[in-house]
């Protein structure tokens, strides 16, 4: 199309009336000239010219926009159709919008967890390095000597770094708050390849200097993005530091699941200054102090497999711990602790499958509704074909109509997607794995979800469109196709319903199992304490106002648990979970002590080192023998501990937890060299959260310089482990309800349609003496067949869904035969009921009336 052409067409479009007049004028002038010059009468002049209207039409069409204009016409026609049938529009669009919105939200979540860049440069050249214990199949963090080993392979490694994320009190502009901080080795920013947006990154020269780098979020929230942040003085745990740089906005640390994203980075060399009383002062030379995460930037052309090979060679040469080896993972697979990767991916898969099932259900519903409408538009299509419309043109128009419909659904799905994403943000959807995600609205994922939804919805409209445009087709085949769609709806609903039932059953069962402790009426407060004296004072003060209180290093029922090696006989190390707890711990949590005693106030520094084990640990370490009086050695400690008590096992309800109780070791908190970040467990007289104010007051008196405690109820905290199951249960239940409702509506509509079509036949049968009940039964039987066929067709998908569910949500039950029979029967009964309800009006039919009309 030339420029002149576009200009003229545009003019014709904008000044349509004027242009039409000009065409008319031009033809009229020509005819007038003919009349005049040839001396013809008007009729003869016209006869020679040909069809005048046709000529004008040809000229007008030339100024048109061709297919573009036809498309626009079709779109306007489609919108008008939607407006004229509000019931149809709502029934078709709303389920589709909800389904597409949910799918887009799940895609956003998946993208944020697995794919969204973490802000590191050339991530394919970065490897994360973990210690791995082949015996137990567990990933562990690294020691400083591990870091030296991994960094020593300069042939393949460009730069390597180790880091530790901790939470400290940071004093910024006159207020103190708890902030996440990463202590990093000198090459950290080089290895991560992150370039600061302001100032500079930490360099090897900074190693012992009191300087720190801020995150973009901190710069934005506390410095209003003012460049004056450079050189500003802050205090980290009381020590003065200067900020020298700001990281880019996308960089939130390498790991998504290690507490809050870091606000500050400073050198690991300050470790001993931050933890003056720690026992791991010599961590740089100790292989048993495994507290670091590690990353390595590889040289160009070196891949992770080559690096792994180099690590193996190194391990074979040097006398390191043979029970551990270093494992390098591509950074894309190490966005969170590797052990959580597989269950997390499976969990996301399950959510994605559920949302896809919802989209499928909505599309079958759409196809079904379009089929129904195709019957209603039979007359319209006949008329159009009669006045000369081609089938292709009609088909094009119908497909555009469906696209308009799907487009409206997509537009409506945007607020749904944003809403669901907001909701997902509030869900602590995993427990051990608690990612700090950037769940802002992600247009990439949203766009993908909507494009997929649009395509599926338009495809769903193709078969009905063919049916509509191809006339003379029997009603029977159309009705048959509708039944097929309804069947598919029932099948999809069945697939999800079984999973929903399994989850509901599991959650119900779980509510009945004993946890081994009493979470009811307990308040948790996580806080930072300056020293042991403050801890003792805090306990005393809180106990004066509550039924009981105890401190623990990590909160119960801890899945964020610490592990350590213990030995009972020299040389035989065993890995167990452990926790440092104060006296009163077992009373506050009401954990039964089976043998001996719990931790007492007299178990303090300088007294006999003791330990309490749980039943599982006793069974593991002493094979069922009474462990009281036995001794054990915790790795890294100088003295044996005496076992003074055996506690009952606790059940930890969380994603990825084994069914059997974890062997657990309790050590006296006040025998620990350092007491800083702890969780206070308070058994409160009234509702737990009502005590939060008192706790904050007491704490503010004891440690005015530190951030106030973060409180939660133990019930909620303990229940958070079931969050994935609850989310899965809610999602599957919602989708299966939607599916069932739409399938039943489909069965009802299909039966009602059939009754209308066969009115005459029914009337004749009634007239010659058939009982209405018998006729109705005939229609109900149809519902039975549809329901049964759908349910049976859905069974394999349902079983597959349950297996996916079981792999994604640990602890989910199985789909037993009883449950399968129950769900199948429910669906079939509902299908029969829907068909019956639609056919019931036969009872009120008067055969004579119908026959008279017909």
């Amino acid at each position: 199309m030339s420029f002149a052409g576009i200009k003229l067409r545009w003019r014709a479009l904008v000044h349509r009336r004027q242009f039409n007049q000009e065409v008319e004028d031009e033809i009229a002038f020509h005819l007038a000239m003919r009349e005049e010059k040839l001396g013809l009468d008007p009729l003869a002049a016209r006869a020679g010219f040909g069809n005048r209207a046709r000529a004008g039409e040809t000229l007008r069409e030339m100024r048109g926009w061709g297919w573009l204009e036809r498309l626009w016409q079709d779109i306007r026609y489609g919108l008008r159709q939607l407006r004229l049938n509000p019931g149809f529009t709502a029934g078709a669009i709303l389920p589709l919008a909800v389904a597409i919105g949910c799918a887009a939200a799940i895609l956003t979540l998946t993208d944020a967890v697995l794919f969204r860049p973490t802000g590191i440069n050339n991530p394919d050249r970065v490897a994360a390095v973990y210690s791995f214990s082949p015996a137990t199949g567990r990933y562990l963090s690294d020691s400083y000597p591990d870091f030296r080993d991994a960094a020593s392979l300069t042939g393949v490694v460009d730069s390597a770094a180790a880091y530790l994320r901790v939470s400290f009190n940071v004093r910024l502009n006159e207020s103190t708050e708890s902030r996440s901080i990463e202590l990093v080795t000198a090459d950290y920013f080089r290895a991560a390849g992150v370039i600061p947006v302001l100032g500079r990154a930490l360099t090897p020269e900074d190693d012992s200097a009191p300087v720190a780098v801020a995150s973009y979020a901190l710069w934005e929230s506390r410095f209003a993005r003012s460049p004056s942040i450079l050189g500003s003085a802050i205090r980290i745990n009381g020590a003065p530091f200067t900020i020298v740089g700001v990281m880019p906005p996308g960089y939130r640390g390498m790991l998504l699941d290690w507490g809050d994203p870091p606000s500050l980075w400073t050198s690991l060399k300050h470790f001993n200054q931050f933890f003056p009383a720690n026992t791991a002062k010599d961590y740089e030379s100790r292989r048993d102090v495994q507290m670091l995460m590690m990353l390595a930037r590889l040289r160009p052309g070196v891949d992770v497999a080559q690096y792994q090979a180099a690590l193996e060679v190194l391990a074979a040469r040097s006398p390191t711990n043979p029970t551990r080896r270093l494992l390098a993972l591509p950074s894309a697979q190490a966005r969170f602790f590797p052990a959580y990767r597989a269950p997390t991916i499976r969990f996301l898969w399950m959510l994605l499958a559920v949302s896809l099932a919802a989209v499928a259900i909505a599309c079958f519903n759409l196809a079904n509704l379009l089929m129904a409408r195709s019957a209603a538009r039979h007359r319209e299509m006949s008329t159009r074909i009669a006045v000369g419309a081609s089938r292709a043109r009609l088909l094009q128009q119908l497909i555009v109509e469906h696209a308009v419909l799907a487009g409206c659904a997509c537009a409506l799905s945007v607020p749904v997607a944003i809403g669901v994403t907001d909701w997902l943000r509030t869900v602590q959807f995993t427990y051990i794995f608690r990612p700090t995600l950037d769940l802002s609205t992600d247009w990439r994922a949203l766009g993908t979800g909507m494009a997929a939804g649009l395509i599926t919805a338009v495809l769903a409209g193709v078969a009905p469109a063919f049916k509509t445009a191809r006339l003379g087709n029997s009603h029977a085949s159309r009705a048959g196709l509708r039944d097929l769609f309804v069947c598919a709806q029932v099948a999809s609903a069945m697939a999800v319903l079984v999973s929903a039932a399994v989850l509901a059953h599991t959650l119900h069962d779980d509510g009945k199992t004993r946890l081994g402790y009493d979470a009811h009426g307990v308040l948790l407060g996580s806080l930072d304490l300056p020293n042991a004296a403050a801890a003792a004072k805090l306990l005393l003060d809180v106990r004066s106002q509550a039924e009981g209180a105890a401190l623990a290093w990590v909160a119960l029922p801890t899945t964020m648990r610490a592990n350590t090696d213990v030995q009972v006989q020299p040389g035989a190390w065993t890995n167990v979970a452990f926790n440092w707890v104060s006296d009163g711990y077992f009373d506050v949590l009401r954990i039964p002590i089976l043998e001996g005693r719990g931790i007492l106030a007299t178990d303090e520094r300088g007294s006999q080192p003791v330990a309490v084990v749980n039943r599982a640990a006793a069974a593991l370490l002493w094979s069922g023998e009474n462990p009281l009086g036995h001794r054990l050695r915790v790795r890294g400690e100088q003295q044996d501990r005496e076992v003074v008590g055996v506690a009952e096992d606790m059940r930890v309800r969380a994603l990825g937890q084994p069914e059997s109780p974890t062997p657990y070791l309790f050590l006296p908190l006040f025998q620990r060299s350092v007491i800083s970040g702890v969780t206070i467990h308070v058994r409160t007289p009234g509702p737990p959260l009502a005590f939060a104010g008192s706790l904050r007051q007491i704490f503010a008196r004891i440690a005015p310089e530190t951030a106030p405690p973060i409180v939660n109820t133990l019930e909620e905290y303990a229940g958070a482990g079931l969050e994935p199951m609850r989310v899965a249960a809610q999602a599957t239940a919602a989708v299966s309800l939607l599916g069932i409702a739409l399938a039943l509506a489909g069965i009802f509509a299909s039966a009602a349609y059939r009754v209308t079509q066969q009115k005459k036949e029914i009337a004749i049968r009634l007239a010659i003496g058939a009982r209405p009940g018998r006729v109705i039964r005939g229609f109900a039987a149809r519902g039975l067949w549809i329901g049964a066929a759908g349910a049976v067709a859905g069974l394999p998908a349902a079983l597959w869904g349950v297996s996916l569910l079981r792999s994604a949500v640990t602890g989910a039950g199985v789909a037993g035969p009883g449950l399968l029979i129950a769900t199948t029967a429910t669906l079939i009964l509902a299908a029969v009921a829907a068909a019956f309800a639609a056919a019931a009006r036969i009872a009120h039919l008067q055969p004579s009336d119908i026959l008279r009309v017909q």
């Binding site: 030339s2 000009e22 003919r34 040809t58 030339m62 100024r63």
Partner: protein, 96 residues
Amino acid sequence: MLVLKTLARGAKHGYAISETIFETSQEDLRVEEGALYPALHRLELRGLLGSEWGLSENNRRAKYYRLTPAGRKALAAEAARWTRMSVAISRVMGTA
């Protein structure tokens, strides 16, 4: 090409164009009116013709077409092509 040629000597309205072709071809060629106007409009859309409304010799409102510079160029090209073509054809016909 014929239309472009008739307009080479100045703007004309549609009827005059068909008359000119009819007369100058000594009544051998007659452009069908049904085809003339679509052809004019097509040339206009391609930017080879311009148009404006004016008064005809008998004082009626008429649409006058004229060549644009692009039209003039196209006419020259077409004419050259036609000459080559007709010479070639007559050579073939002459030798046969």
